[in-house]
Symmetry: C2
Subunit: 125 residues, 2 copies
DNA sequence: TCTCTGGTTAGACAGACATCAAGACAGCCG
DNA sequence: CGGCTGTCTTGATGTCTGTCTAACCAGAGA
């Protein structure tokens, strides 16, 4: 089950068009917040943040689980659990090739989240 | 107790200097992840995301609790709880002026988080 | 087919979290 | 001073999360 039927969470995160104006420009509507919050929640764990970084910064843009797991003092199932969370948040994609499973970041989604947090050059603190 | 003694969570988030290179450029070290994750976790709730947006996008860059609370179907204490979470994550500051308490976003921290998620223009999908 | 390795799923458990009701505190105004 | 309004804190409760062990599935090779 590597091609999870992406749960409602990323309905709009998939779209190429930016789903929302920057947080500080106009109020994020409730519906958008419901869509975006799960993505941030997925980033809200140190292990997942590191996993995503390892995946996104890896050579070729993808990383094998076999390379990710040994970097943590956690069991395999726990890492798998965190990867699943990243997957369901729409932040990464997984693909099995032969024996190994490779994870790949989804830059478009990351860009959307970054755009949401963007603040126009310091107005006047 | 409005000037909470910012808990370890934002040790580096306060610094003006960017604490980390973009997530996709180099691996986020464990220590940095431990500092950054709580900020994302704070954003990982629809109510807090909306609260932060309302604060950051408000006229004058600040919002009164009395304006925030009625926008949700939640009790006062619950909103207060979420605001405290945003405060402890270093995302907002609170200040009491007379009867009302005003919250203000911290653009520098938001910018750091945005920078972390930034992805260089699609290299080659 | 049997077996080994890599990865996920299932079940369990401790700790953390969201929410509310009730109480406490701070500042205004009569 | 005394009551009122606005906000925060505390305590209780049900749910969610992170982690583990054990069991299961998928390919690769013998």
């Amino acid at each position: 089950m590597l091609k999870q039927a992406s749960p409602l969470a990323l309905v709009e995160l998939d779209a190429d068009a930016p789903c929302c104006a920057p947080l500080a420009q106009r109020r994020v509507p409730a519906e958008a917040a419901a869509v975006l919050a799960p993505a941030f929640k997925a980033l809200g764990d140190p292990v997942r943040l590191r996993l995503l970084s390892m995946i996104a910064s890896a050579e070729g843009g993808e990383a094998c689980v076999c390379d990710l797991t040994p970097a943590f003092e956690l069991t395999g199932p726990t890492i798998s659990h965190h990867l699943k969370a990243l997957r369901e948040a729409g932040l990464v994609d997984a693909e099995r090739r032969g024996t190994w499973v490779y994870y790949r970041a989804r830059p478009a989604v990351l860009r959307q989240l970054a755009a949401l947090l963007t603040v126009e050059s310091t107005p006047a603190s």
